[in-house]
């Protein structure tokens, strides 16, 4: 069994409205799936549908050839999710937040300090997350991805709020993850600047 993510004919309704219909893709290790579309076209909902947070009207998402709903725990142990809301407790420092999250998914055997250095937030590590800027929070969210020892990354608008340097940092980190045999599903507006093979799902 290899780490592959595929979907066949997935359809999602929110209330009476059809967000997307009959979307299919098959993602191999080292590939990026790019979700494109205007605001409100359902990119975030598609990401949520992939992780199993939203119930599909039709179709199935497979991880390693098996439907994800039949192996929720295994699948969730294989992914890291950079959501729109970063998901850190505002009153805790970023190290306290990342230490807590270490129990949520398998972790790489790398010192947390090195990762913070890499995303250029180590000087902020004693501050509560509340006092960080939106861009700095995105960088900490990127540190969360780097700390997780998982093959599948799901990223919702990872370039939002970041400066030019931050955007190239995201691109570099994603390129490295893909080069190491990882998979990535990304919702993005901007030019993503990724070297790996890219598949696209365009939502209306």
């Amino acid at each position: 069994m290899t780490a592959t993510l595929s979907a066949t004919g997935i359809t999602l309704f929110r209330g009476d409205r059809c967000l997307f219909e009959d979307v299919s893709f098959a993602l191999e290790p080292g590939q990026l799936l790019l979700l494109e579309g205007p605001n409100g076209s359902g990119k975030t909902s598609l990401l949520k549908a992939i992780v199993g947070m939203l119930e599909l009207e039709a179709g199935v998402v497979n991880w390693g050839g098996t439907p994800v709903l039949e192996q929720r725990q295994l699948f969730h142990g294989s992914l890291a999710w950079m959501a729109h809301r970063v998901g850190f407790k505002a009153d805790l420092t970023l190290v306290e937040n990342l230490r807590f999250e270490a129990v949520l998914r398998p972790q790489v055997a790398v010192d947390i300090e090195d990762i913070l250095e890499r995303v250029d937030v180590s000087r902020l590590k004693r501050l509560p997350v509340r006092s960080l800027s939106a861009g700095q929070k995105r960088r900490v969210a990127l540190a969360r991805m780097l700390l997780a020892d998982v093959p599948l990354w799901l990223m919702d608008e990872p370039y939002t709020n970041l400066d030019r340097e931050g955007r190239s940092l995201v691109a570099g980190v994603v390129n490295e993850h893909l080069a190491g045999g990882g998979l990535c599903v990304m919702a993005a507006h901007q030019d993503v600047d990724i070297d790996a093979p890219v598949q696209k799902v365009i939502l209306q």
Binding site: H76, A102, L104
Partner: protein
């Protein structure tokens, strides 16, 4: 590289980490912790001012007043059980982790009980003395409140999970869990009254203990299912 070949984090680790994190958060924001206790103390000391301070009156109304105040203090603080985690997105991160959701619900309820139920238990003897409660009744009050706050927190976690996606769900939460909370209130207050008049009162304590055990076993699963519904 696929997850089945690697070690997933242990099941208890998410539970322990969540309890620790919530206690740390409570430590950093002591105001939130003190709210229910202050509410409890204020409401129960206001009653004698309104109904008159005669000793017979106090002895008669004491158990009921203390229990109603404890019930309301617990209910009002339960609204925020999952709300903060939902709003800042940390609940999403937990939902898409391999950690089982019932463990999260149980951990949240435990941390909530440690930070709101335990202070309430500690303050209750002081308030009870001001109601001229005999020592026997104070013992019964502490034991019934112990089981009662555990049960209310667990039952309330189901309501909090159901209303997490709604804005201002406090009223709805109270309505949802009041039917389940009624037996706790009736038995709790009655048991303390019986103890105050030197009658046998152990039946009420047995029932409250049984209720707490049932809630401990069932509520985390119900709360986890409710959380998944809230995400739909």
């Amino acid at each position: 590289m696929i997850a089945s070949e690697r070690e997933l984090p242990g099941l208890m680790s998410g539970f322990v980490a969540t309890v620790k994190r919530d206690l740390l958060l409570a430590w950093k924001r002591p105001g939130d912790v003190l709210n229910p206790v202050v509410f409890f103390a204020v409401v129960s000391t206001l009653f004698p001012l309104a109904t008159g301070p005669s000793p017979e009156q106090l002895e008669f109304s004491g158990p009921g007043v203390l229990w109603v105040a404890a019930l309301l203090a617990t209910l009002l603080s339960l609204n925020g059980l999952f709300l903060a985690d939902y709003e800042d997105g940390s609940l999403d991160q937990f939902v898409v982790s391999p950690q089982p959701l019932p463990m999260l619900a149980l951990a949240k309820a435990l941390a909530h009980w440690l930070t709101s139920g335990v202070p309430l238990l500690l303050v209750s003897p002081l308030v009870a003395v001001s109601f001229r409660m005999p020592a026997e009744a104070i013992g019964a009050l502490i034991v019934t409140l112990l089981f009662g706050t555990i049960s209310l927190g667990l039952v309330g976690s189901i309501g909090a999970a159901l209303t997490v996606g709604l804005h201002r769900g406090t009223v709805l939460l109270s309505l949802l869990i009041l039917p389940l909370a009624m037996p706790i209130l009736i038995l709790g207050a009655r048991t303390v009254s019986l103890a105050a008049t030197n009658e046998t009162y152990s039946a009420g304590i047995y029932f409250l203990a049984a209720y707490a055990v049932a809630a401990l076993v069932l509520a985390p699963f119900a709360a986890a299912a409710a959380l998944r519904i809230s995400y739909e």
